[in-house]
Amino acid sequence: MSFWTFLVRDHAEILSRTLQHLVLVGVAMFAAVLIGIPLGIALVRRQNLRRWVLGTANVIQTIPSLALFGFLIPVPFLGGIGAKTAIVALALYALLPILQNTYTGIAGVDPAVLESARGMGMTPRQILWDVQLPLSIAVILAGVRVATIICIGIATIAAAIGAGGLGVFIFRGVAMVSNAVILAGAFPAALLAIGVDVLLGFVEHKLTPGT
């Protein structure tokens, strides 16, 4: 069976697996952004925490993804078989690039700009929202973009713990020794990654204040 006939015959499943994939990545990214950006900002103010937090995120990044999924299964509340565990693992992977870029972006704001902001009587909140975030948004979004692409790739492995997504085709294809079935998972995943990359690149461009 060729890839194309499989595509035509099973388009409904391909579509639903793609949606499943998007949901896994979307929910994980949402959580990672919600945790990563504020934490990254906090690290700039608390340098003593920085080594620990970035170190931990780095260590997580080095765990092979299949192993991380496995490790999480017995963990109470977060673990188990299914989408929840996959989302937790994906969010953990997404955390490092988001943390790292948020930290780098905020810490990289020109000290003279900060000194004048403070010296002219901006409150810390105003400095954050009116100065630091606008000036580092491009770097932060670049981190989100990288994290999303990583997650789209890693999410294919989530099928191994019953989370569904496009990885189902890849595992099935490997078992059936069928390139057509593998491609039915790999090809949409690649398209998703490219599509998201272009989209977030556009958002990044739109939100970057001209200087």
Binding site: A112, V113, A117, M122, Q126, L135
Partner: protein, 249 residues
């Protein structure tokens, strides 16, 4: 004259102020007074504590000992944010917000202070005129579209925008070419006398000090050795003062 009335005439007063960081004494026992209409130039070599002294005034740095009075009230009685909005601040690197236009930069403190928008607009117009920049031509530009001298002008306009009674300037003309610097110094010395503000101006340039200061305070190793009027300074026998005067050539 009673102590209180003497105080209230002063914009800035430092009494025996010291600042140490990691056991290193950066500012030692500095005292001075600046009244409205006066420009005190803190003159000294690099690393003698002038900049730190300036930051003590707007509380970017907290003194280790001594007392600072702003407009007659102890600095500790002021809310730091309120205090800073009454003190204009210009630094050598200007620190204009690169993502804001000239208009937004100049309007910064008035908008923070929630001035009504027509008043903000009027003020921006006045300030740009004061520093010699054409409103139509410059208002919408970003700092990256300005020359070094123009940026400094915007920096001065921004510092003066909310009409603060006190102005702190840290080598504001240090980073521009000599010709532009002379131009800015000349113009600023004219403006300074007209404004009636209390100005504390840090520099290591003796010419600038003589041109701009109504008083010159000489800094050596964290100490304010003496305060002179400009013509006194030229005839001082104090070695560091002589060294500066001799450097005039």
């Amino acid at each position: 004259m009673s102590a209180t009335s003497a105080l209230s005439d002063l914009a800035v007063e430092l009494r025996n102020v010291s600042y140490a960081l990691d056991n290193r004494q950066i500012v030692s026992n500095v005292s001075f007074k600046v009244a409205p209409g006066e420009t005190l130039v803190l003159l000294g070599r690099s690393g003698t504590g002038k900049t730190t002294t300036l930051k003590l005034i707007n509380r970017l740095v907290e003194p280790s000992s001594g007392e600072i009075f702003i407009e007659g009230r102890s600095q500790l009685e002021w809310d730091p944010i309120r205090l800073r909005r009454r003190i204009g601040y210009v630094i050598q690197d200007v620190g204009l917000f690169p993502h804001w236009t000239v208009e937004q930069n100049v309007a910064m403190v008035p908008r923070l202070e929630s001035w009504p928008e027509p008043r903000v607009q009027e003020r921006v117009r006045q300030m740009l005129e004061l520093v010699g920049l054409d409103l139509v031509k410059f208002a919408a530009r970003k700092p990256s579209e300005l020359s070094g001298g123009q940026r400094q002008r915007v920096g001065v306009a921004r510092a003066l925008a909310a009409d603060p009674p006190i102005l702190l300037m840290d080598e504001p003309f240090g980073a521009v070419d000599p010709i532009t610097r002379a131009e800015l110094q000349r113009e600023f010395s004219e403006v300074a006398t007209r404004l009636g503000k209390a100005i504390v101006f840090v520099t290591h340039d003796i010419r600038e000090a003589l041109l701009i200061g109504t008083h010159i305070g000489l800094f050596t190793e964290g100490r304010l050795t003496a305060i002179y009027e400009p013509d006194q300074f030229l005839h001082s026998t104090e070695p560091e003062a002589r060294a500066f005067v001799d450097s005039l050539g």
